[in-house]
Symmetry: C2
Subunit: 206 residues, 2 copies
């Protein structure tokens, strides 16, 4: 059996190797994209032989899909945490900071998604439609509610969310460009205050 087809307890060694593989695969897929990645690269990065990797996963695609859906949760978290009962502007700014932290702490995951979406989301469309879309609609409604209540300046909630995603993920996805232009390898100092300023000025209802 490949893994735990029929409620088999995954052995210690199995867990260890699966997560090694996934970690190595995240490195490789995020840096090379799906087609650019090879099983040999993943195998080497994981410190395992290629056939051994195929012992834990049915194939390249399964590794990729596992990685994608596994990361999806982490990715949606910050948005889920945005609380309709909180103070409007604070909630939005907290969301921005959470996203920015993720770009800093999980750049590989960010690039993994960016690659996938760029290529037309061949393996993620279902997830986007099934998981992200409802959440997105719900949170847009929340934001719209805040605006209707006069707690935020009125702007299109959808584009607001897009701009948050774009500005924060940019620091992970375009890191190479940024480090060239800033001639600093430090992960974008000043982004925090800039983005806080940007979205505060946009949204405060004064």
């Amino acid at each position: 059996m490949t893994a735990d087809e029929t409620t088999k307890k995954p052995s210690r060694i199995q867990q260890r190797n699966r997560s090694r593989i996934l970690d190595a695969a995240l490195d490789v897929f995020s840096a090379q994209g799906y087609r650019g990645a090879t099983l040999d690269q993943i195998a080497e990065a994981a410190g395992l032989s290629k056939p051994n990797i195929l012992y834990y996963f049915a194939g390249k695609e399964e590794i990729h899909v596992t990685l994608l859906s596994q990361t999806m949760e982490t990715w949606l978290d910050p948005l889920i945490e945005m609380n309709a009962d909180g103070e409007a502007l604070d909630e939005i700014l907290a969301y921005v900071m959470r996203k920015l932290e993720m770009a800093r702490d999980f750049p590989r995951e960010s690039r993994l998604f960016a690659n996938e979406i760029l290529q037309g989301a061949p393996r993620m469309l279902p997830h986007l439609q099934g998981d992200l879309k409802p959440l997105f609609d719900e949170k847009c409604a929340v934001i719209q509610g805040w605006m209707d209540a006069g707690k935020l300046a009125p702007v299109d909630p959808a584009h607001l969310v897009f701009s948050i995603w774009a500005t924060t993920q940019h620091y992970a996805d375009f890191a190479v460009q940024i480090s060239v232009l800033l001639d600093s390898d430090a992960p974008a100092p000043g982004a925090d205050s800039f983005l806080t300023d940007l979205f505060t000025k946009l949204l405060r209802s004064a």
Copy 2:
């Protein structure tokens, strides 16, 4: 000879085929990334045989590099046009709109670059350092000048530029996601006014 090694006039048919190939390659590279693209795909999209393509270009890499540097000009244009003698806020907003138009009119080019940068810019680093960096520094200085003169609210010019790139290119690079979330294939209606609003509020010195 591959092309015009020694000041040979490129024949009519040569020009036609070279541009066909580049157009087809732009389709394929922007949709699949460098490694994801195959010469066969490009050949088919161009309506030529694979060996015929290799008759016009030395190899896959040369096609890619040609495309990249050829597009680079178009890409820098909007930034170059930003005029230090113009009205500060107008210049910035005009730049934003130009970039947004480019995301709409040349999404393939945008994705081509996004792919390249995402993978660490293996074939573009020189261009980034040699062409983009000086221009970037120059324009940051211009913006800083405007701020020092009290014509714009003071924010970090570099992050300002990053945020302009991020928000505008997002509409091209993440088009699939956006069209899922907006359930509309129209290229992001409302982006214009949202971004104008965003950057106006950020920068007006009132």
